[in-house]
Symmetry: C2
Subunit: 262 residues, 2 copies
DNA sequence: GGGCTCGCGTTTACGGCGTAAACGAGGGGG
DNA sequence: CCCCCTCGTTTACGCCGTAAACGCGAGCCC
């Protein structure tokens, strides 16, 4: 066991964590930050919904409670949102639209396609970490078209990404394959990361003297032996590692100018 | 890439599709297949819930309707299941327990760790494709412990997997890292695959003469140009390709006997 | 055999949900 | 002045999850 201590040299907290950035992923600067009574509008409703989910969890969001958090009856929301389902669609769209406000993510691949994908990936990760309760929604809400894949649920970003790849020498086939591999990578890593984060927090009650006597692990000796390692959170490093690997793999695909499967 | 060869020789429809297998992933052989009135029990309830979700979608599942599908009032279910949430937990557990009945998936790595991981991956994929409406539940339900990562939500499988890796020469670090990378890969790929499959089906209504005039694509020329490619379903090949790549990457990690990030 | 108990499904009831529909209040233009 | 348009409220309906009381048939003890 040589790998705890300070083997990891200077990986401060986590470059994508919310506190490492000056609230750059804040929800909405919608005019004055009044929390009292202001004229309702769609943006304000969606912002309040995101804040509500961040604070209380997705399952606690109801039309009545969201209305109450805005100082309004539930039915008032229906003037601006057709219904609860479309409200959630709007939440998902608003959350990923935070990418446009992220100064480290660009829509055009000025620094090459690898820089583009890297910045985009970290931007999405920042959003996931800033809204862990919302991200499962981003992941599972049915997309508009079969080729709009979570978590990049916006045509503009798909167009950006494909453009960056094709302009950098990817064939059409390879660009599409890269888009799909990239989406799968982001979705898998980030969904697991936020769900893991949620689990660590949620059993906050019953902090007894003996920790974690919930289940009997005696039948799983290796799990017991590796429990420390398994509990460690190496998400940031693993994300980086897997991302680098993916980019490397895509580079060979690009060079050989063919789809990766053949 | 020397490690496929004849592992996947004839890729006609899809080796993991439900119809390509003789119902091997059927839900329950719980005694006589009577659908009428039989004594209620937990297994029968969970089986009915899975069938209900497969047929009508997760959002249609209510205690009352599930009761009705069993010829019983909703409250009768509460003798066997504490509540709706725990019912869903049971559904998830039951679905992944289908792995134990899969003759192509083994709990011990008799044919080497790569064979083990490959069989397991395809087993999980078969389950995902057999129950596309259930899989998002498998992916997003909070796990029991932070180190039980979807989609392999069972301590027995985690123990199996780690054992296979450690026995094959992975260091403890490397085995844990491999477990995490493998989980992310499975989750990302399969969640996207089933969600894509769901989207193709759901807008079944309004098959007008002009197809897909729903949204204006004029601002996204590359998306338009690549629309055919983007709509193609290459899930099986991409899954195989990404899995092979992951295994290859893990092999170098194993050989060098260190965690992959350093 | 008679009555008692107990396992199991039903009935009833309650508060909360999403949302359709009718209803005001308040203000700006004819 | 009055009308009507905008926007939030009130009321109402059917469905939801589930607590609690109930009923009923089978088995058992005496």
């Amino acid at each position: 066991m040589e790998r705890n201590e300070d083997t990891v040299p200077m990986r401060r907290p986590d470059p994508d964590s919310p506190e490492a950035r000056g609230g750059a992923a804040a929800v909405l600067p919608a005019g004055p930050p009044v929390t009292g009574r202001a004229p309702l509008d769609r943006r304000r409703i969606l912002g309040a919904a995101i804040e509500f989910i961040d604070r209380n969890g997705l399952s606690a969001l109801t039309m009545r409670r969201l209305g109450a958090s805005l100082g309004v009856e539930a039915m008032a929301l229906y003037r601006y949102v057709p219904g609860r389902e479309q409200l959630l669609d709007g939440v998902v769209e608003t959350v990923i639209d935070e990418l446009y406000g992220d100064p480290d993510v660009h829509m055009r691949a000025a620094g090459g396609w690898q820089d583009f994908l890297q910045r985009l990936a970290h931007g999405v990760r920042r959003i996931a970490l800033a809204h862990p309760e919302v991200f499962p929604l981003v992941a599972t809400r049915p997309p508009a078209a079969p080729w709009v894949r979570p978590p990049l649920r916006s045509l503009r970003w798909v167009e950006s990404l494909l453009t960056a790849l094709v302009d950098s020498g990817f064939s059409a086939d390879a660009a599409v394959a890269a888009y799909r591999a990239y989406s799968s990578f982001l979705l898998g890593h980030l969904l697991l990361e936020v769900s893991q984060k949620g689990v660590q927090i949620s059993p906050e009650d019953a902090p007894e003297g003996v920790p974690d006597t919930g289940t009997d692990l005696s039948q799983y000796p290796l799990v017991v032996e590796l429990e420390d390692l398994l509990s460690q959170d190496e998400s940031a490093a693993e994300f980086e590692e897997a991302l680098e690997n993916l980019l490397g793999r895509l580079e060979t695909v690009r060079r050989e100018g063919r789809a990766p499967g053949e």
